[in-house]
Amino acid sequence: MIPIVVLAVLGVGFAVFSIIAGSLAGPKRFNKAKLESYECGIEPSPQAFRGHRFPVKYYLTAMLFIVFDIEIIFLYPWAVAFNKLGMFGLVEMILFILAVFVVYAYVWRRGGLEWD
């Protein structure tokens, strides 16, 4: 019980300290960008566009990450029961990973991994 209380006090203390220290020590310069929604959420649509530019890089990386990341979900049950699934499981998993790699090769060749 005691360690949890200590940890909680430390955590709250650090948060309070950071906020106070930040407001005392940090410079205060406001600009428009600081008032916009942070990281996610919908940008107010009329103002967000100058010309027809739309920052697409982060979006592409994020989407590729989601797709490849979620495929891992099938590896977990296989890894947990690896011994029981035996040869059959191994072969099926190799086939699955090969299919994923084909798509990876496509993304790589068509420049999906380049930032600029």
Binding site: A81, L85, V102, A105, Y106, R110
Partner: protein, 511 residues
């Protein structure tokens, strides 16, 4: 935990699906590694090889009855019949997609889907003669989903294949070369409504799983026979599951997306959706209702009657009011979904084989009809407004009479395939005790015949419009696709017996 027994997988019985899957993956590799100049032709070759391979595999497998991959897939008569149909439709659609002859302004697909409509980027892409070659792998993945869909013997495989067939179609809808805003709008609409309906499908799956403790169709059937489970879960689950599937076949009241999406999508993709998606979705619907819920016919048939009547009436009446040929064909496809539902509701062997035959005839005629639509053009793309078609049959008799043939077949006039199909389904309906439904079907067929024949009258007996649309000389691919549809429409109208026998032998389901 019990010991694991590795499921036996009959790879030979899966050959049609493996062919398509391999073609799709090769397509992705072609896009990754083949130089841009060769990509388009390499893609066509891979797709056609895969489809022809699948068709041959289906022919070799004819007569197989097996449940494989631990009851996940059932390779039986109806599955093979539908897979063969889908492979033929795939060939027809790939040929329509492949045509980039100058008369068609370089194909139906965007140079680069990522470029904004009207931007300099887009013009540069078209100038350079580019086209989005990913169309073919996407199409092949959709075909793969469609092949698995009617073969699925459990609800999970049914759901996954539903998504495999839908996701590429959402993208393909948005890839039109001209009228891109319309096309993108169709894609958004299709996507949001499709995802919405698949969520319903999934909730139905979950409730049925809760009901039976399993998702295999035979397991659910066994649970319904004992009658010792929670009926609330059963009927809620069945209803929600049906919503998902009725959406895909475009039955009223879940048909609202059909005209908009068919209108906005590139015409070769519309041809593919209107034919192959409907075949696959009806295959799955037939299997679910005939295998799992046949014993509950008394419970679900009244609701199905309502849906069928509404679909036939809505489809035919709204088609009459359309002034755009593409939208008219879309509503007619809604009406046809209603006619096929009569076969589903019959719930007997002839209902199943009649539906299979109807699906074959309807879908091939549809591919041909949309193929003709790609040829009638204005300077800014296809001329789909009905008024532009006035006198078209006089100015170009061949295309006019081909289109007239397709319309007559869709109307179900004797000596065309459409008549044989309607006869098969309606007589099954009568023998299945659905006579009032068949009467509604006949009346709505008469209404439908009105708007089909109105177009024919307009094409041949109205004065040609000044500066009317140009009828493009089809490239070899489009011509081949339309010719195939014409041949099937006539042969199945005049001499349908061999294929009717085939459909009869295909029934019943094996599970």
């Amino acid at each position: 935990m019990s010991d694991f027994h590795s499921p036996s997988i009959a790879y030979t019985a899966l050959a049609p699906m493996l062919c398509i899957g391999a073609a799709a993956i090769v397509g992705v590799l072609i896009d990754a590694f083949v130089p841009r100049a060769l990509r388009w032709s390499a893609q066509i070759a891979a797709a056609l090889l895969g489809l022809v391979g699948a068709l041959i595999a289906v022919a070799v497998l004819a007569g197989t009855h097996t449940v494989t991959a631990d009851t996940a897939l059932s390779i039986d008569g109806p599955t093979l019949f539908l897979q063969g149909t889908i492979a033929v439709l795939g060939i027809g659609s790939v040929l329509l997609v492949a045509d980039r002859s100058p008369a068609l302004d370089g194909g139906a697909f965007a140079a680069q889907a990522a470029s904004t409509p009207g931007s300099a980027d887009e013009r540069a892409g078209i100038q350079a003669g580019r086209i989005q070659t990913e169309v073919f792998p996407l199409l092949m993945f959709a075909v793969l989903g469609m092949m698995i869909f009617p073969a699925s013997n459990d609800l999970l495989v049914l759901f996954v294949s539903l998504e495999v067939l839908s996701l590429p179609l959402y993208l393909l809808c948005g890839l039109a070369r001209r009228r891109r805003l319309l096309s993108q709008e169709a894609a958004v609409k299709y996507f949001l409504l499709g995802a919405f309906s698949s969520a319903f499908f999934l909730y139905g799956l979950a409730l049925l799983y809760g009901y039976a403790g399993t998702v295999s169709l035979s397991g659910i059937q066994a649970a319904t026979l004992t009658g010792q489970h929670n009926d609330t879960l059963l009927f809620l689950g069945l209803g929600l599951l049906s919503v998902g599937m009725l959406f895909k076949i475009g039955a009223a009241p879940f048909h609202n997306w059909v005209p908009d999406v068919y209108h906005g999508a590139p015409t070769p993709i519309t041809a593919f959706m209107a034919s192959a998606t409907k075949v696959a979705a009806f295959g799955a619907l037939l299997r679910v209702f005939y295998v799992s819920f046949a014993g509950l016919g008394w419970e679900w048939r009244p609701a199905a009657w309502g849906v069928a009547i509404l679909t036939m009436v809505v489809g035919s009446l709204f088609a009459v009011t359309q002034t755009d040929v593409k939208r008219m064909l879309a509503y007619s496809s809604v009406a046809h979904a209603g006619f096929i539902l009569v076969g589903v509701i019959a719930l007997n062997r002839s209902g199943l084989s009649g539906s299979l035959f109807y699906l074959l005839t309807y879908s091939l005629t549809t591919v041909g009809a949309f193929g003709v639509l790609t040829l009638v053009r204005d300077p800014d793309g296809e001329a789909t407004h009905l008024s532009r078609w006035a006198g078209l049959g006089r100015r170009s008799p061949v295309i006019g009479s081909v289109f007239a043939l397709f319309l007559l077949a869709l109307a179900g006039i004797p000596l065309t395939s459409g008549f044989t199909g309607k006869f098969a389904v309606f007589s099954a309906g009568v023998s299945g005790g659905a006579t009032p439904l068949v009467i509604v079907g006949v009346i709505t067929s008469a209404i439908a015949a009105f708007f089909y024949i109105r177009v024919i009258v307009m094409m041949f007996f109205a004065e040609p419009v000044a500066d009317g649309p140009i009828v493009a000389t089809p490239g070899g691919a489009t011509a081949a696709s339309i010719a195939m549809a014409v041949a099937v429409t006539i042969v199945l109208g005049v001499f349908p017996q061999p294929i009717l026998d085939m459909a009869n032998h295909a029934a019943p389901f094996y599970h």
